[in-house]
């Protein structure tokens, strides 16, 4: 049951939680379970064809899944999956 860390801009879609507990043994399974629990999050993570949106960065512990096995990267309960958002604010 890996935990997924939800960044502030997406917390509005998960009832304000900073972390969500999910089921799954790969990054993809955990994400699918996440959007099953919180369907309004889906368009922020996935394209219509279920591929990951290109501006979504996922890190398992400290590593970008791009450097691992992408969505097939295995994860266990002790791993932490982080969604890292593009934010642009400078306090203007």
């Amino acid at each position: 049951m890996p935990n997924i860390r939800i960044p502030t801009p997406l917390r509005v879609y998960v009832g304000g939680q900073s972390e969500v507990s999910t089921q799954g043994s790969t990054v993809e399974e955990a994400l699918v379970d996440l959007v099953r629990q919180y369907p309004s999050l889906r368009p922020h993570l996935f394209n219509g064809d279920a591929s990951l949106r290109p501006f979504v960065n996922l890190f398992v512990n400290e590593e970008n899944i791009r450097e691992l096995q992408g969505l097939n990267t295995p994860i266990t309960e002790s791993d932490r999956l982080m969604i890292i958002p593009s934010i642009a604010g400078g306090g203007s």
Binding site: S40, H44, F55, N57, N64, I84, S86, G90, G91, S92
Partner: protein, 384 residues
């Protein structure tokens, strides 16, 4: 090159001279170095103040905005006497008050593909303190082309990110974010808000990294991204690596010149609040007031967050926060005339797109939002 510090300078910088990692030699380096600060807002304020205090010999400031009352909650380089003044001038005055021995160059213009290379070429380190995606991609690309370090900081509400992007020694901004998010997906600070002290935390970290780079000491944040959350008081790091498919710093670059960044990001290169859905879909506050007064039946839909109702509200409006709009379309009747509004018109313009794609046609966006209503129609409402 030798540069002798005066007695006054020795006294001013004595706390630096006491640190072996800085010392006289390091202070000389700082006095002979230059930093360009892009944006003189929340992030730029602490950056510019601390670099000036540290004795960075030449500091460039790029901004074209003027100081607004709502800036003072976090943009601590400005003050009441600077209201309405150019930000770069207001900032320069404060920096020279802190340290009259440095040179402050001001560029009262937007940072664009036309002037960016020319301006940035003159500085050793570039600091990204902007408030929008187009200028962030532009800053990155300029730094890649010029081979300069880009000290990146970005904030949203309680979250901050810091890194040093230096394509010569590590990844660039595009390695991490190859493409910007679609317009409107990530709210700006003007729309989403920001804890006033957050840019202080992130900006001082950027200033720290800039000083380390200039002094050549410590471990710069190259190849690491710091993620800060003020609510959790958490500092987390992730590793960033060069992306072999990076379109600008990868082995087969596609981007070989500056591009049209506003077109690339689909948003303007500034974080101005006033939102518009385009002339065909906008209605001004005065027009709306006239139509309501004439007895037209118009369904007012407020797409703000519930806590914003405590600041101001329009009587009779239905609240459907933007985040819930897609799921609650069935509560609206496409046969009815609908006017959508938010604080300043940006979120409601997005809601309007949702309604249009769902087949609604009798729908308008209140241009400038409830703030415009407060200005034009009902001055008893506050502007926020």
């Amino acid at each position: 090159m030798s540069y002798d510090l005066s007695h006054e300078e020795i006294l001013r910088y004595s706390r630096h001279l006491l640190i072996p990692e800085v010392g006289l030699e390091g202070q000389r380096k700082l006095l002979q170095s230059s930093v360009l600060v892009i944006g003189t807002g929340g992030l730029g304020s602490p950056v510019a103040l601390y670099l000036a205090a540290a004795g960075v010999g030449r500091i460039g400031l790029v901004d074209y905005d003027v100081v607004d009352f709502s800036n003072l909650q976090r943009q601590v380089i400005h003050g009441m006497e600077g209201l309405g003044e150019l930000k770069v001038e207001s900032a320069r005055r404060r920096m020279l008050d802190l340290n009259p021995d440095i040179q402050v160059d001001v560029y009262n213009e937007p940072f664009t593909s036309d002037n960016a290379m020319r301006i940035a070429a003159e500085y050793d380190v570039i600091i990204d303190g902007t408030d929008n995606f187009p200028t962030r991609y532009l800053t990155n690309d300029v730094c890649v082309f010029l081979g300069k370090p880009n000290v990146y900081g970005s904030i949203f509400r309680f979250d901050g990110q810091v890194s040093v992007f230096d394509a010569r020694r590590g990844p660039c901004y595009r390695c991490l974010f190859p493409e910007p998010p679609p317009p409107g997906l990530v709210p700006s600070c003007a729309e989403g808000g920001v804890l006033g002290v957050l840019p202080g935390t992130i900006g001082t970290l950027q200033a720290t990294e800039a000083l380390k780079l200039l002094l050549g000491i410590g471990e710069p944040l190259i190849g690491r991204l710091l993620l800060y959350n003020a609510l959790d008081m958490s500092f987390e790091f992730v590793r960033l690596r060069k992306n072999p498919k990076c379109k600008i710093c990868g082995p087969e670059p596609e981007v070989t010149d500056l591009i049209d960044y506003e077109a690339f990001c689909g948003v303007p290169g500034h974080d101005h609040e006033e939102g518009s859905a385009g002339v065909d879909w906008d209605i001004t506050a005065s027009e709306l007031a006239q139509r309501l007064q004439a007895g037209n039946h118009i369904r007012l839909v407020d797409v703000r967050e519930p806590h914003e109702l405590e600041i101001s509200r329009l009587p009779g409006a239905t609240l459907i926060p933007l985040g819930q709009m897609a799921a609650r379309l069935s509560e609206l009747d496409s046969a009815e005339e609908i006017v959508l509004f938010c604080k300043a018109g940006t979120r409601s313009a997005r809601a309007l797109e949702l309604l249009l794609s769902a087949g609604f046609r009798k729908v308008k966006n209140l241009k400038g939002g409830i703030n415009a209503w407060a200005r034009e129609v009902d001055p008893s409402l506050p502007i926020y």
